[in-house]
Amino acid sequence: MTEFTRELDTSGLNCPMPILRTKKALKDLQSGEILKVVATDPGTVKDMEAFAKQTGNALLEASTEGDSFIYRLQKG
């Protein structure tokens, strides 16, 4: 459950940067590949869920690790 194709660290950044960077990173992936996103902005919890649902990319994981939020998105 922990494999990913690319990792994106948005630690310290607030809305809208984590979503903008996630969007850009996903654009460069192939369908089926997995992007791991690390964030510290609590706002990303709702944002990432909405982003995945809205853009047709599956949110495989949303968890916390220490002070960070970890997401894994699979490009649709």
Partner: protein, 378 residues
Amino acid sequence: MELTNIHLVAGAGFLLAMVLGAVMNRTNFCTMGAVSDWVNMGLNGRFAAWVLAMGIAVAGAQVLELLGLVDLQSSIYRTANFGWLGYMVGGLLFGIGMTLAGGCGQRSLVRLGSGNLKSLVVVLVLGITAYATLGGILGLLRVNYFGPVAIDLASHGVEDQGLATLLGGLSGMAVGSGMRWLIAALVALLLIGWALRQPALRSSVDNLLGGIVTGLCVVGAWVITGVYGLDDFDPVRVESLTFIAPTGNTINYAMTFTGATINFGIAVVLGMIAGSFLYALLSRSFRIETFTDRTDMCNHLIGAVLMGFGGVLALGCTIGQGVSGVSTLAAGSFVAMICIVIGCALTLKVQYHLMDEPGFFRALLRGIADLLMPWRAD
């Protein structure tokens, strides 16, 4: 200390703002986030929440005015002085600023309450810039370049910049109270109707709650300053919620406390922080956040300056002009609000393209192209 009218008005404003701060923290109500959701993921739930707040505020404020309960005419929004360049440039700069700073004035106060020290920096710089723009060094720029091009509607025989009055002035018809009721009802219905038609608003309790409470608090603020605070011997300014100039006033108040008097705007700024703080404690979501990135800190500082300057120039922020101003049906408030949205959307696009474009101007051109032809955008 004897409690005078201004203390009672400020106290009521503080309590109202505490409720709003808590609700905004809970619901993630954010006008920059609203534009970001829409531009970046095609989701308009938070934008619809903002529009719902406008609609409710228009309905409430107009009923109060047309029943003769609140004198909206004496607020800063609907004067005969139509400072179109200030609304446009100020709005654009504010929109750019709130995107760079990760949220507008209101959002920064809420995030400060929940422990975000980046927002503390934004609030301080924004407030000081606002103060400098009101009567300081930046005020010269405002008065010398933006003041002279303002249109004095009174010299064209139009009393003020209210939509109804403008319509009367342009058509040559006399606008009676029936016409004013009709225009107010149409605008309120249009805004509320559009918002409630959006599935992303209807399906989200938080978005509905954020929009409704924001709208009601703006109406509540008109009641506090316009009805509750009405006192011929100890008058207070008729105003509603706004967050840029009052943030500057709050900093000044803190520094000159012993010789200063509180006012409604200062109490609202403090109430927002307090409400958000209490909610963060109760929901165990209080957490200290700091800058970790050099570019990010530069962006926040530039954003805070642009919001402080632009917000004063445009006479308000996303709430001040975008909801309170709009609720008076002043034409300039609609201009400022639309320019804020354009500035924000364009900045989001430029930031997106800057991630893989070699230069700023190419990113800017691509961003403008995206906004003009949204169907071709990424």
